[in-house]
Symmetry: C2
Subunit: 340 residues, 2 copies
Amino acid sequence: MPELRKDPLIGRWVIISTERAKRPIDFVMSTPSSETQNTCPFCEGHEAETQPEIFAIRSTATPNGPGWSVRVIPNINPILRIEGELTRRAKGMFDVMQGIGAHELLIETPQHLGNLADLSVEQVQHVLQAAVHRIQDLERDPRFRYVLWFKNYGDIAGSSRIAHARSQLIATPVTPKRVKEELVVARRYFEDKERCLTCDVLSQEQQLKDRVVLDSSFVTVLCPFASRFPFELCILPKRHACDFASLQPEELADLAAAMQQVFARLKRVLGDPSYNFVLHTAPFRRHRAKVGYWKTIEDDYHWHLECIPRLTRMAGFEWGSGFYINPTPPEEAAHYLREE
Amino acid sequence: MPELRKDPLIGRWVIISTERAKRPIDFVMSTPSSETQNTCPFCEGHEAETQPEIFAIRSTATPNGPGWSVRVIPNINPILRIEGELTRRAKGMFDVMQGIGAHELLIETPQHLGNLADLSVEQVQHVLQAAVHRIQDLERDPRFRYVLWFKNYGDIAGSSRIAHARSQLIATPVTPKRVKEELVVARRYFEDKERCLTCDVLSQEQQLKDRVVLDSSFVTVLCPFASRFPFELCILPKRHACDFASLQPEELADLAAAMQQVFARLKRVLGDPSYNFVLHTAPFRRHRAKVGYWKTIEDDYHWHLECIPRLTRMAGFEWGSGFYINPTPPEEAAHYLREE
């Protein structure tokens, strides 16, 4: 059973996957996977080679056969286990939890395409619908506090460049540290001003325009003022909303078009870079009474999607210090991505 | 002039190096450097090819000539600039500071060796002496709050595998976020228990022994309980001390021997991996009155050196979420590194 452990010096939870323990030899020998179209289990027609689907958008009524647009399946090698009771306990002075959670793969297209940039807007919309559906469904499980939806594209980002487009969903019994920090800052600002911090930032960015990459009717895409990485992007809804999973159909359609645009531009401008995206949305509010920083969450937290093209390698220093050095001012990055 | 910018959503400072602005083409075309022994400006005899030295441990009295053991020079392409006045200002609702600081290179050996593991213990001791000396000297500059001492070894860690062994010192007008978080947690624990949190962790680890890699008379090297990365290491002084720069000569000698041991084991066990280390030490206390979390720092903060071998690539997700997945339990990592 994997284990969730809390670092007492900094209050950060880490998943230790005790079952697939890696010995030194595994790192020395590790080579990138080289899956091809013929052997790809995620392509249409190969459904029998994966775990049975949890969810799919499909034109046929028969699950686990062809005729689908997006499919969600359990990860065959899950980081966290779905079975078991959630127990919080002490191990000496340390805090541990059993590694309970869900780990799902969202197969983003029936075709053997790798980059979200190459999908149609309608296809991206199906991806978003599937993510919303899975988050809403996982929220029903009382053991979970958060669902992380994220994507690794390309070899540097932790996936294989030729692999079939997919993203991942991990439901966790704790709120990720980065999201928790944002919640605390957002609440403090709201208590002072009775306004959402992100709404204020957005309105300033829309006035200045120099960091705005794209402005649709529903979302703004910008290079954040204090971007950690070159060409880092943040996709934000213009209308205040704390929950990604509360998106309405017309908003999903607009977001899909914006995402497809932006990933296509990243591909064109930067030569098909590896990238990651991670969704920051409100944690499940069932536990509100226990955790004070969720008090005003509907008013103060503003969901967003962080996108990080993987262009630089100065990571170890950043991991150790939390201090980032960015060689590309976000205004210049936005200029290139606006395609002026 | 580079700029320090604060992310309002999470309170993190980022250095935007506006002067060496990278365009998209710079990332597409980037190739690793291929410096060789002949052209290496850091080898003994090539002193004229670098900036004049700031500090050196040498057998001859003539600066900037041969006869040295370690040399510290200004970084030719500094991340922060030494000249100028520190101004904090608002840019709309954002916080900015001029990019004032120091950025130095510590050349760790006169020979063309890459890995700290290949240096003699005496040589590592000189490296530590130089780091201590530079931190003490930079503390005199009233504009600085912290000195980050760190090392990138190997191509994945942000350096070139064949390059000459060197580490870097960056003096900053702000305390790095990661260190600040540790300070807050350490103080909270101390206020409750009147004991140092890290001392308590250390004493528990020494009883359990399963995560301890090495125990010398002065330091303990361990794989932290909630390690974020496979074979992550933490080097800690056994005697409580908040300041790395207050180390006495016999302590430096002991630490040098432990570091050389540990890096040699990493090299042997993991096949010469890329790695980073970052020093976490107490910030300069001159600003104590302004920043409340330094109140009890001498008693509550415990300096340490974080070492991260770069074996996995699952980084983008971690950057976006602050959530780490570690495939190697620290107990197993410690087992291999103890060389049982």
